[in-house]
Amino acid sequence: MTNPYHVVVCASVVPDPLQTLEPITGPSGPALKNEMMLPAILDPWASHALYEGANLVKHIAGSKLWLVSMAPKAKLQQVMMTVAQKVPLQLVAVDGPSSGFADAHQTAHALAAAIRAIAGIDLSRLLLFGGWESASRSAGVTLQLIGEELGIVDQFQGVDAITPQEDGSFEVLERVEGARHQVSLCAGPPAVLGWATGNLGEPRNDPQVGMANMRTIMPALQRATVASISADGMRYSNVATPKQQRQTRIVKELPAEDIAREIVQWITQE
């Protein structure tokens, strides 16, 4: 195949999902309690995009992969200690907030600027990857906004697979209702692909891959541009974590069949 891609994966940094996420009101609006101090990971949705992107690049000669991430620099550095071990990549770091409450428009603007500034990128060959939503807020708009700014009109969301064709076009599977996929054929890049889970497992950590990546990652972190994202003009009327529902009944000596029946009844209720 002679149609190399320039894959840019946009990925944010989010608190480790096992942590207790407690919304509070900080000096500049809503925030999570102890957010800076909570261990962070690369957004799981965007991580799938990264693994898919790396796989694509591996199989199509001449292709390149960049990971573009906006987060507090020191947090990003810590997260890179794991992410850098997963796949060969080049990091483009933007020093800014990674909070789920940052304005998606400003975030998208900063990321689009960072992508445009990548040395050697060919925007006509661009496949803009990311998560179709994010573990920090699930608004799912940032990627689309970046695409808009870069003038990319072919956008796919909930993507589970991309299959390049001989003629430079590619087939995309998007999730639709009822556990089905919609199949699209796209004539070629540029395109935006907001990934669901894709089909690849998480690659193992490999410190040797990490060491190779770190040679460019550390300078990239040092070079990180600072993005000023302001909270002006934004107002959150209400912030809450999804409620956990727990309805426990203690019934002694209930036969297993009865329990099963009750569960089936409950599942089929809606």
Binding site: D16, Q19, T20, N34, L38, P39, A74, R204, M211, M214
Partner: protein
């Protein structure tokens, strides 16, 4: 001392310390290679290792195919290759002690057996790495590195075989029954050797492809002992033996193997020379194991500390959730919110065990870092000695007598005000690599056995307490964090690679080295300086305890027991061993304090930490304080027992009466010195009657210095319990994750 510290800190610990904190505390914040390695090892530990434990794979003694998957995971995650230099297929440049220590820590956080399984491979290679010939090193290290992409071969795995069936090698490593003889020696050709060795409790034996075995000469034509490399394809018997029915570390393979093989003489670790028709191995087996164990024991020490620190989160979660869901505990009620953390003892004991884990980790990592500094120095030293033509242990000892004097001189100059120093002499000594080696080596020779002894022994005892905090759940297989397994496993960490007796024996020698003692004296002053600026750390308490220890040691060296027997001597383990135990408490606590200072210095450079740094520092300061108090208590008790315990207690006999007042004598003295009668404890009546007790109170003549220090030390405990109260408060408030992150 703690008067400057408030009753309640305005900010208590917000979250459990994360990687940012740990990287600074253990001094690898600038080592990205190590940070990645930690993540890599953690993924293996909390993934495949944790899953094996929860599936019940610890239930078998045999090496199963499921357990064997761990080896693949080690290979793929870069754990196996850490031990190798880049030219042999590794990827880390330079010394690897800290790297291996971090791996052991991460794996043992979940299961120490998995850590042992990984590290036993390094232990097998260590004789070759430390003392092997360049050819042996190149050959075996490259084979033991996982295959590079595209390379078609298996990773070669090894076992280290020293221990033999009873009545041979155990603690006493000189009691060898394994033998090596010459079977064939054609003139001008490599001799052929016959090796007979039986092993007991040999780790990795279920799958090892090669073994480094300790054997003694069974032939007049071989001088002394050595270590030989045996391969599974060698002609003869390579019987892996039956699996050991052990109750601990079941994710590692342990067997009692039997070897009866023929190998070329080139398999003697470190090579040999031929003199007068006899093979003289370049290194005896004890020279090899000395070089090996002093590094590998540090990693074992860290396993137990990892487990203690790993217990904190599951215990807090258990305590908080204990009553949730019951009719009597509704949301908003204290019983619901705090659960068992309403009870002070639950919190105080948790604080204690956290402090012990913290101190152990500090000590272990400090030892590992020190070896990273010593490794290149040692190579330089070897080169210098070789250039000077100094060979053999005795010649080296003689040579180092002068170096040690120079090192002592340097310490003296360092303690002198700068303007009073002879600048030239100082600069020369300061830049002398042999002097630097001697100073560091003297400390490492203490830190290594101290870490192995204190971390595992005290750690095992504390692990028991950890279980208690989980009640009955603690001793079930279901206990989150696998605490019961971790407790049992600690006993092995305290046993293999030399049980506590071996470490105490080593310490009782190395801690008497004047080069160490001179540095120890400097550390006392260092702790006082720390205390001046950070009064809440307990550093002053620690300094006094260190002084008391030193006083006791000096005293025991020159005094005798009631029957005239010398006290500090190797046969008197009742004296030397407890003093070694006491030193462990001091060294661990000192390092914990030094790490706190590192966090205080470097923490502000990390913006992620900035937000909660003050609260983290406050918490760690209090942890140091209670640990210093605990150390002071232990040291005070041990020293008092030793200083007084070997004297004869006075009896109600003629000798004893000499030290007592006669009642009529006291009456007349009362006229001259009013009140004296109420101070005198031992008063004998005219009829010889005396108070109802064992005898006149023991005289403390000559021990006043000790008594002053001891009572000062008691006073130094001031404020420690207040620190514990603050810790309790913090532990009841700290935010923890929703669930444990293993098994994943």
């Amino acid at each position: 001392m703690a008067t400057t510290v408030p009753k309640v800190r305005s900010e208590t610990l917000r979250t459990l310390p994360d990687d940012n904190v740990r990287q600074i505390l253990w001094h690898f914040a600038d080592r990205y290679d190590l940070q990645m390695l930690v993540q890599s090892a953690r993924e293996v530990a909390r993934g495949p290792v944790a899953r094996l434990v929860s599936e019940g794979s610890r239930g078998t003694h045999e090496w199963t195919s499921k357990k064997a998957k761990l080896l693949e995971a080690f290979d793929q995650s870069g754990i196996t290759a850490v031990f190798m230099d880049p030219e042999h297929g590794g990827y880390l440049v330079g010394p690897k002690n800290l790297a291996l220590a971090l791996i052991a820590f991460e794996l043992a956080w979940v299961d120490a057996g998995a850590a042992t399984c990984s590290l036993a491979g390094c232990l097998a290679l260590a004789p070759i790495h430390e003392r092997g010939t360049p050819e042996q090193r190149a050959h075996y290290m490259a084979l033991a590195a996982p295959p590079a992409p595209g390379e078609d071969r298996h990773t070669y795995r090894g076992a280290f075989c020293l221990t033999e069936p009873i009545p041979y090698v155990g603690v006493d490593t000189g009691m060898l029954s394994g033998k090596v003889r010459i079977t064939e020696w054609v003139d001008g050709q490599e001799p052929l050797l016959h090796v007979e060795k039986r092993g007991r409790f040999i780790t990795n034996m279920g799958f090892a492809n090669f073994v480094t075995a300790a054997v003694d000469s069974g032939d007049d034509r071989i001088k002394g002992s050595c270590m030989v490399i045996i391969e599974e394809s060698d002609p003869g018997v390579f019987d892996r033996g039956t699996p050991t029915r052990k109750l601990v570390h079941q994710l590692s393979s342990t067997c009692d193997p039997i070897f009866n093989v023929h190998v070329p003489a080139s398999r003697i670790v470190g090579g040999y020379t031929i003199k007068d028709g006899a093979i003289i191995p370049n290194y005896s087996h004890s020279e090899v194991i000395e070089a090996v164990f002093k590094r590998t024991r540090v990693t074992v020490a860290l396993m137990t500390s990892a487990k203690l620190l790993s217990a904190v989160e599951p215990i807090i979660r258990y305590q908080r959730g204990r009553f949730r869901g019951s009719e009597q505990a509704k949301p908003g009620m204290l019983r619901y919110e705090l659960g068992l953390q309403q009870r002070q003892d639950a919190l105080h004991r948790l604080a204690n065990l956290w402090a012990i884990g913290e101190a152990g980790a500090a000590l272990g990592f400090a030892a590992a870092r020190l070896y990273d500094e010593i490794d290149p120095l040692e190579r330089e030293k070897d080169a210098i000695l070789a250039a000077k033509g100094i060979r053999g242990g005795k010649a080296q000892l003689r040579f180092f007598r002068d170096v040690d004097q120079s090192a002592l001189e340097l310490l003296r100059l360092e303690a002198t005000a700068e303007e009073k120093r002879n600048r030239d002499v100082y600069d020369t000594l300061k830049n002398d690599r042999l002097v630097e080696f001697a100073l560091k080596d003297a400390v490492a020779n203490v830190l290594c056995p101290a870490a192995k002894l204190w971390n595992t022994g005290t750690g095992a005892n504390s692990m028991r307490e950890a279980l208690s905090l989980m009640g009955g759940y603690g001793i079930t297989e279901d206990c989150p964090g696998f605490l019961a397994y971790k407790w049992m496993d600690s006993q092995l960490e305290a046993t293999y690679e030399g049980p506590e007796a071996v470490q105490r024996r080593n310490l009782s020698v190395t801690m008497t080295n004047e080069l160490f003692l001179a540095q120890f004296r400097q550390w006392i002053a260092e702790m006082r300086r720390v205390a001046e600026h950070r009064p809440g750390t307990g550093a002053c308490t620690l300094a006094t305890a260190m002084q008391l220890w030193l006083w006791t040691y000096r005293h025991l060296r020159v005094t005798t027991d009631a029957y005239g027997g010398a006290l500090y001597q190797s046969a008197r383990q009742g004296v030397t061993f407890p003093l070694a135990d006491a030193l462990g408490w001091l060294l661990a606590t000192r390092q914990q304090t030094l790490d706190l200072i590192e966090l205080e210095a470097k923490g502000p450079e990390n913006p992620v930490l900035a937000e909660g740094l003050a609260s983290t520092l406050g918490f760690f300061t209090d942890l140091c304080h209670i640990q210093a108090a605990r150390a002071a208590g232990e040291v005070g008790r041990i020293c008092a027992e030793l200083v007084f315990g070997y004297n004869r207690h006075p009896a109600w006999d003629d000798e004893g009466y000499k030290g007592c007042y006669q009642s009529d004598e006291l009456d007349s003295l009362e006229g001259l010195i009013p009140g004296i009668a109420s101070c005198a404890t031992d008063v004998v009546g005219p009829d010889g009657s005396h108070p109802a007790k064992a005898g006149p109170c023991a005289s403390c003549q000559g021990l006043e210095g000790f008594q002053r220090l001891r009572s000062k030390l008691d006073g130094c405990l001031t404020g420690a319990q207040l620190a514990k109260d603050r810790l309790a408060e913090a532990l009841s408030k700290v935010m923890i994750p929703e669930a444990l992150d293993y098994p994943r």
